[in-house]
Amino acid sequence: MSEMSKIVRTISNSLFPFIMIYGLYVIMHGHLTPGGGFQGGAVVASGCALMLVAYSSGWVFKKVKESDLSVLESIGAIGFISLAFLGIGVTFFYNFLVGSNLLFGEIPPAGPNTGNLNTAGLLPLMNLSVGLKVIAGLFAIVAVMAFVASRGMRKK
């Protein structure tokens, strides 16, 4: 696929940071507001797919290689499983950070409250790893399919 017109590219350029910030907000605030790793990852991958269709797939593969995307996805998966294994002293998936005074270790007051980002123990870290995995995985699918489609059309 070739580049689209200058109008589409300009609008995509100015829209891309807002989509990225919204998706990263959904990932990072997954334990306070609706959303989480999968939802925010899907939003960020949608923004990357917007850049992919506005510019060409060759332009995208000059910036990010598909092996990098595979590595990022594997880092997310390994991070998720090792975070689950860290609590193996009690059970698998034990949330050992809650109540300690370490990172994300506070407990919010019961009932409706203004959210505090520094709560919920392992959940934000798991949200981050799942979000990384979903971003890399979904964008790798779209980018590889677009690249193969453009290459097949050039051969004809």
Binding site: E66, S70, V98, A110, A120, L122, L123, I141, F147
Partner: protein, 92 residues
Amino acid sequence: MKNARNLIAATALAICAVFLIFSSIMMHPFGKPSDSSMDDYIISNAQNETGANNAVTSVVFDYRGFDTLAEATVLFTAVAGVIMLFRREKHE
């Protein structure tokens, strides 16, 4: 041959319609599950036990973490399959 196929399709459709009509008549009222003890436990204790304000995330990542692990495995397998199918060859 065509008549038999039509007959089978009509029978399957009729059975599906009967089940759909019965289930829509006997459906629970919205928001009132038949057994709500697990829901009540999670709603009253999730904020204290996991420290997250969002009870849905605390169910997805803490109480039912194995489901999320399986979902991540499904996504990983799908991405591995697509990249294996559409991978760039080294010799080009």
